[in-house]
């Protein structure tokens, strides 16, 4: 499917159902507004799913992995070989996202979007999905990270995965990422779209020193100067300063939106993908839920660009989908508030004493 056709499928959520939800929520057996952020979330779920009984029981976190040529510039604290090693651990169950997903009962679907290693054995065993666009992106400091065709391919692959998951009955999706070096393209994307100075949107990723951070800022500045990505052309931004997993996640988010399925956005990298999705199809933000506020510098600005308030703030800065997975029970709680709580009338509970 062409990107133009993908975008056309994304419609705003239902204001009619949002209004119906608001009305019911205002009559639940609680003091008005006392369930705080759960109420806005409950409204959103009703508007997304066009029902007062939204269900988010079947859930999956899609962890997309890829490598980044820009790592050769020395922007990360870890070697690129960690990307395929971590993919193996996601599958094995000993990684953070694996043990967190177990708690919330979510499937972890790992997708090789462009890891610079042969992971065919894992794909053949059905342990990961292979949608490899390449063996790592190119070094964005020296030219485009990928071709425009590859950017399209990444988006389309992500879109198709969301479609397939919804077809399989998944009612709530979440995004996750793995890719040594991937805060670099994410900061570049934010800088391009927000127009903010690179320094302001660039952080320590996995925990780099002051010296490496200085270098990282220079590398991103150089990447933007060399490539001149057009902020009015999201595909151009993805191709020039993005990454394969970021493109895949943007496609996944668009797919969720096209299939009227809520999607929880994880941290900095996932939010860069969400920002690309928003730029491609503004209505897609209606389907997004910001899982958490990451400690990565720039995530706050990223969420502001998305116009989203995060559900959690647990000082995470890991990625993998960890923050999104932790937010799943909050989303499930909001769904239950919407679909299972009683109103004052239904429950026979006395209302507030008239405004005395």
């Amino acid at each position: 499917m062409q990107i133009k056709e993908i975008v056309k499928q994304i419609q705003p959520v239902s204001e009619k159902w949002r209004e119906k939800a608001r009305e019911r929520l205002a009559n639940l057996i609680i003091p008005q507004g006392s369930l705080g952020d759960l109420l806005a979330l409950a409204e959103q779920l009703a508007a997304v799913k066009e029902t007062l009984k939204p269900s988010v029981q079947k859930k999956a976190v899609v962890v997309m992995a890829a490598d980044h040529g820009v790592v050769e510039e020395g922007v990360s604290a870890y070697p690129a070989e960690v990307t395929p090693q971590m993919v193996t651990n996601f599958v094995g169950g000993g990684a953070a996202v694996s043990v967190l997903a177990e708690v919330v009962g979510a499937r972890v679907l790992v997708v090789d979007m462009g890891v610079a290693a042969d992971l065919d054995h894992l794909a053949r065993e059905g342990k990961i999905l292979s949608r490899k666009v390449g063996f790592g992106s190119r070094n964005l400091a020296r030219g485009p990270a990928m071709s425009r065709e590859q950017a399209q391919q990444a988006l389309q692959a992500g879109f198709a995965i969301a479609e397939e998951l919804v077809r399989e009955g998944y009612e709530l999706l979440a995004t996750g990422d793995m890719g040594i070096g991937n805060t670099t393209p994410s900061s570049a994307i934010l800088a391009v779209f927000s127009g903010r100075p690179v320094r302001e949107v660039t952080g320590r990723g996995t925990g780099i020193s002051d010296g490496i951070l200085e270098n990282k800022v220079r590398v991103i500045e150089k990447g933007i100067a060399v490539n001149r990505p057009d902020p009015d052309d999201p595909l151009d931004v993805l191709a020039k300063v993005g990454g394969f997993e970021i493109g895949g996640l943007a496609g996944l988010i668009l797919g969720a939106a096209a299939r009227r399925t809520p999607v929880i956005i994880d941290g900095f990298i996932s939010s860069a993908a969400a920002l690309l999705a928003k730029k491609l199809a503004p209505a897609s933000v209606d389907y997004m839920i910001a899982g958490h506020l990451s400690m990565e510098q720039g995530h706050r600005l990223m969420l502001a660009e998305l116009g989203k308030k995060p559900l959690l703030a647990l000082n995470l800065r890991l990625g993998e989908g960890t923050g999104a997975v932790l937010a799943m029970p909050v989303v499930a709680a909001a769904a239950n508030v919407m679909s299972k709580m009683l109103t004052f009338e239904e429950a026979g509970v006395s209302k507030k004493i008239s405004s005395s």
Copy 2:
């Protein structure tokens, strides 16, 4: 059991196990510290349970209900009859805590600590636990809310419930409250222990108007002036300006601490109980986890008195245990991080590039 004997059973958590936990957590396959608040929580669970494989699978939220004589002073937006009505709804499953507990797989145990209505039918059907200390406390603005013996009885009842739950295999407890008017005694308790002005620690509870708030402040000031509770004698504070469910919850928290079981503290009322528990047995705070920051004015100050940082901040101000229940998956996530994640060595993942 006498209060003195209860207090004697509460020992600090194990610093040895905390140290062991810290060591293992520092070697997990994540960039150092990148799991944020989950790491401190994982340490705490290891120190509480004296194991590197803490389990919090079997969990219960104990919702204690009581009425408050002070309601006759016009401090609440709702009539007292709502307390028994809500107990019925907790049991029926249509209340907020009921639908949230379903999401996290927690048992809701409702305890009548002193509702001003006959709930014997629910107790006989095994739907609630009856530990009634009285049919509502007395009006604290005109004299002590209860006798010293009643305060003891409430504490002992809560303690025994925690003991019994741990005996039944519960590994994680949470507190919840229901009682029209119960932010009034909670604010009074905070004012007495913190020495802060009543106005500063008094909020809108279920959503009272400016006029009622002014009155509430005066009522609490009067209650403290009339009763002169001794901040160095927590039992005296509970008796004079407390409530039956607050005493019961304080006992529950002490019981959890005595049985080395983590206990999630809900919002303002539960935190007043936690403050009483801390004053009775300072080591009990080691076992407490602050579930969330409530919107109720004064909760921030209450948490500061407890020395606790809340896990969530979802703008709730409901009570019932809702904030504590929502925090359960975060606690379960921390337990899984501690017990199931792999270290770099175990996973064969490359470590950080030496500090370049």
